[in-house]
Every structure is written in C-alpha cells, then in structure tokens.
Symmetry: C2
Subunit: 99 residues, 2 copies
Amino acid sequence: MIVELARLSIRPGSEAEFEEAVAQARGVFARARGFQTLALHRIIEQPGVYMLLLHWATLEDHTEHFRKSSLFAEWRALVGPFFASPPEVLHGAPVTLPA
Amino acid sequence: MIVELARLSIRPGSEAEFEEAVAQARGVFARARGFQTLALHRIIEQPGVYMLLLHWATLEDHTEHFRKSSLFAEWRALVGPFFASPPEVLHGAPVTLPA
C-alpha cells in the first residue's frame, strides 16, 4: 500500500463546489485499479488549501495505470476548474515501525 | 478528529535510527490526551523526508495540551537529533463529503 498526498489549492469562494466535485469523483476512483480509500482534509492553517489522501495498492496503480487512463481526465474535468495552482503530489510508503 | 501532518527532513544516513526513535515515541504519544493513531511514511520522491500522520481528537489536544506538556520534550529528545531542518506541521480537518 502507498499513500498519495496531494496538496490542492482552490480558488477563493469555490470551496463548496470543489468539495461537491470531490464527492462526485469518488465514483471515478472507485473504478481505478488498486484504488483503496480517499479522504479529503481542509488545512486549518491555510485557507483554500486541502490535502487529499488516497491509498493505492501500489505506486504504479496511481502513477502509471490511473494517470494514463481516461479516469484521470474525468477526475481533472471534475476538480481542475477549481485549482488555483497545480496540485503538489507526493507519495508515501508506510514504514513498519520496530516493535 | 483532526490530522496532524508533519513533514520531517532527516539527516542523511540516520534513517534507521530515526525510525527506531519514532517507534519508541509511540509510548510517549500513547500517554497524550486525545492521541488516536500514528503512521509514518517515507516520501518516495524525496530521500530523507518523512510524513508523520497523527490523529488527535481535537486540534487543541495537539497544539495546546501536547505541545505544552513534558511529553513534547520527550518526543523532541527522541527524534530532534535526527532533524535536518525544523519540522513543517499542518493540521487537517476532515471534510464530510456530500453523499
């Protein structure tokens, strides 16, 4: 499992519409290979900024299969109009902590 | 519930010791009011960078109670020596997406 950490900066005043678009986009991710969970967080310190956390089975499920599929275009068509700047995306590999 | 998102940049070569220190620190957080879960992720695109995700019952459990307690000093004593730069900490409030 890997975590996609996407920092999304949204045009002022469009927060409610953006959240509605993310809700719709759940149906897009649900059709993606390796997609597991989606959680959207509003960043308390930065108005208009969200952190979207998605769990994928593998890195390639996101970076290869999803991004090169028509699902990616569907996702961007839903939420892209609300972006104030390009998303900043990182991937995290869970660390198994010593017992 | 709120999510603490802490970006931690670690001195090169100290990753294994740092992970061991975080494992020890679980016992510190376990004694903190409102602490719920801890997950450590290695950022795939940025060597030496980790994202620590902690769930707290409320924002104040982290920013007030924890940071002003002796537990914070215990946490920093464990992991501070490995930091290459000050941590960057944000807090996320989960968005309840429309059905």
